[in-house]
Amino acid sequence: MRSRWAILWALVLVAVGVHQVGFWRSARLDTDVLALLPEDEQAPEVGAATRRLAEGAGRELVLLVGAPDWALAQRAADAAREELEKDSALLEPSVTDASALDAAVEFYRPYRDRLLTPAQRAWLARASSEELGGTALMKLYQPAGPRLTDFDADPLGLWPDWWAARATESAARPRDGRLWVSGEGREWVLLAWQSKVSAFALGADARITAAVERARAAVLAAVPEGRLVAAGVPLYAEAAASQASTEMSTIGLGSLLAVLLLVWLTFRSPRPILLVGVSLALGCAVALSVTALLFERVHLLTLVFGSSLVGVAEDYGFHYFAARQGKPPEERGPVLRSLLPGMALALLTSVVAYLALGLAPFPGLRQMAVFSVAGLVGAFLTVACWFPTLDTGALPVTPFAKRVSASLLRWPRFSSTPRWWLGAAVLAVAIGGGLWRLVPRDDVRQLQSAPANLVADQRELGRLLGLPSPAQFFLVGAGTEEEVLAREVALKERLEPLVAGGVLAGYRAVSDWLPSAAQQLADASLSARAEAQAVAAVAAATGESPTRAAFATDVLTPARFLASPAASAVQRQWLGLLGEQHYSVVMLRGLNDPSVLPRLAEAARGLDGVRWVDKTEEISRLLGRYRRLMGGLIVVGYVAVLLTLVARFRREAWRAWLPSVLGTLITLAVFGWTGEPLQLFSVLGLVLLLGMGVDYGIFLLEHPGEGSAWLAVALAGVSTLLSFGLLGLSATPALRSFGLAMLLGEVTIWFLTPCFRLPSGKDIT
């Protein structure tokens, strides 16, 4: 019977093994921070917009090379470019050269008559024919001026101004064949590069970061007072990957070594070490395979979090060996059978708690939940199916194990004496005071964990280039493409005063590059009328007979525009049809001050189909909402766990339950006293605590007075502490607060559980 289970489990593991080989070959590891962000529950189009805006940026690398003057800046930029060109398999320059601009000019040429800036539109509508004629003549007789067309195709010289207006959408200007930005006391050259490797495939070896660092060194070597500022998703991805892999090995290996050391100290035999190691390894392998099968990609943070699983999944093995120690080998089966009910209950509470993590709509959390549950089940099944078969031979009781087991008898036990009640009162006051001082904080920005130098560079680039913010934008939706463009225009009219008032540097909208059909027709006839007058005036003045060129008779459609080279600047902002509606994004430049955001939100008020999106604010709100929801869940969970425990332990159930409740409260109180804010991730740590904290109580109640149960609990407690303690050292703030909550809670529960043990000689029956 047992061997049949063992074989079945072996078959499952073979399948897992096969899957693992394939998985590590293709390494579908995800470092994208966005993957962890919650899905928008109400508006999928907002999520689509965010994804779309982030997608294109996934491979982009933007560098500014600056020096005190332009000549030096150019020299420094050349040094950086030469260095980056060396690794052509990794990086390639983005095409932002003049040929792209020429192609755009040619594409627009037949439609020149309907490309007007708002100022030009107003002027053409009000200018007298003398003024129109005079302007045309002056421009015609000017010594030299940049013209993009012959006289007949733009008699009033309107088009260069329209291009100049488009150019203001980016801070960089062409100068001497390079892109030039001036600011912060330096002249800068803008270099745009692209990673040839997808951001998801970037490893912890940080090749792009290294290339950028080499370029930085080259800049300093060429121009000592030079400076290189770089930003881009690849750099973040590499930083995250290397941080995660360091942490993974620290937490995983640290916990593993601790666990194996504990096993060695307790049992002084290689077999337990090997078997516990096997159960952990298999648990992790199953976890990884199940996660990879259920999700498209496994996120690196899942692995970081998952590496703390080592400290939890070893419990089952400990229990088995602690109970088995000193008993003859042939009692292996009965020993395991007597342990199974308690173990299964402990597994169940842990699984429920982990699954509760997945209630929040954060894909990353769901993944961590699935990973942990699969890992626990994997380790549990390994112990249940294989240990009795593989664990042959004797296992004598060691002096260390004896000492630990015996320590339970010396542990203080709660009894109804004045001294205990006084202690309880003091504790209650301390907890009350801490809870009183506890402050929640849900700002998503506090979860920012990128290296400080990257963040600083990103900010500097943002200031110099006035880059549009990917987190705050307007989403414009309507039933037809035409209406989307018209609604953008209505929004832009509201934004103009804010731009004039310096609240923001500017905006970037598809309708600036592609006027709506109605606008095109109106502008074409407006310019036709005005330019006819201008040409007539020029004819009269020169005694010649110039004519006005003919322009396209059709309307420029979104489909044609988007397929053209002219669309590259706003391509990503056109979301197209999502469900019933067409959508576009109007992006904002030069938003450096969060305090102006409400004024922008106000700007969209009352406009049909225009929606202000502030991802930062939205996610912070969501974090807050789920923090409260999970807080409620903890309360409900404790009630449910109490009922479960009562079903098995009747009137003694509180002995397993109370330590966890106290552990949670004390953790919160410590947070309050130390000023650590309460946020979703610490609450999630407490959710998990609820599932794992009661395990100790369960084991002690299941096997009252048995030193071996206490031995297992003591070992499990220490290793769990280590795992989550190490997680508390993580540089990822979310994981850190998670680990911190777990650590504090675990310590308290571990200390308190034996205080509430049954008096000796008493039994739960």
């Binding site: 003024e131 005079g134 302007t135 002056m138 010594p143 030299a144 006289f151 062409p174 100068r175």
Partner: protein, 202 residues
């Protein structure tokens, strides 16, 4: 600072191009802070059979900018400073203005006009390949080919002729138009009048 930059530019320019001719031309040019005179411009434009001829007065102040006042065929003024271009018609009220503050393309155009009128060879050498010859004891000729893509978009080439002053500028535009500007009655006095100074101060 600007001076230092200019000096660096000069050093680079003289080392970078046909050094001898350039140095010779610079030696022959009078380095006056102010230059005034008359111009005649013949512009050949696609769509017009005859060249468009205009005449007027001009003033160049190396510090402040350029005034280009057309009298014939119609009165109009063009005021060019380092940061703006302003054109006004004497009658009819037509006017337009461009701020070059943030548009290097326009700023470059202004700087180019400055350099052409004043024969600022050092500045020109940073954006053009310069070939030239010295003529007689006083004269010189230069041919400029843009090396910088943004200028190459506008000009195919530029030819300059002169002695103590620039006497003639010939512009070949990439789109096929061309202009020949002749200068006469050149002098470095009188200094700026109040009206002129006021126009350039805006």
């Amino acid at each position: 600072m600007k001076r230092v930059l200019l000096l660096v530019g000069v050093l680079l320019a003289t080392s970078a191009s046909a050094g001898d001719v350039v140095a010779g031309v610079r030696a022959r040019l009078e380095d006056a802070p102010l230059l005034r005179g008359e111009f005649e411009q013949k512009k050949t434009v696609t769509g017009f059979k005859k060249p468009l001829v205009s005449r007027g007065d001009f003033l160049l102040s190396r510090e402040k900018g350029v005034l280009w006042d057309t009298r014939v065929p119609f009165a109009s003024t063009l005021t060019l400073t380092r940061t703006s271009l302003k054109a006004e018609q004497g009658t009819g009220g037509a006017a337009y203005q461009l701020d070059t503050g943030r548009e290097p393309a326009l700023a470059a155009m202004n700087a180019l006009l400055f350099a052409l009128l004043s024969g600022d060879v050092a500045t020109l050498a940073t954006r053009f390949r310069i070939e030239g010859e010295l003529v007689g004891t006083e004269g010189w000729k230069l041919a400029l080919t843009p090396t910088d893509a943004s200028l190459a978009r506008v000009f195919r080439n530029i030819r300059l002729e002169g002695d103590r002053f620039v006497r003639q500028v010939h512009l070949e535009e990439t789109r096929g138009d061309s202009s020949v500007i002749q200068f006469s009655h050149l002098a470095s006095t009188p200094p700026l009048s109040d009206t002129e100074a006021k126009r350039l101060a805006k």
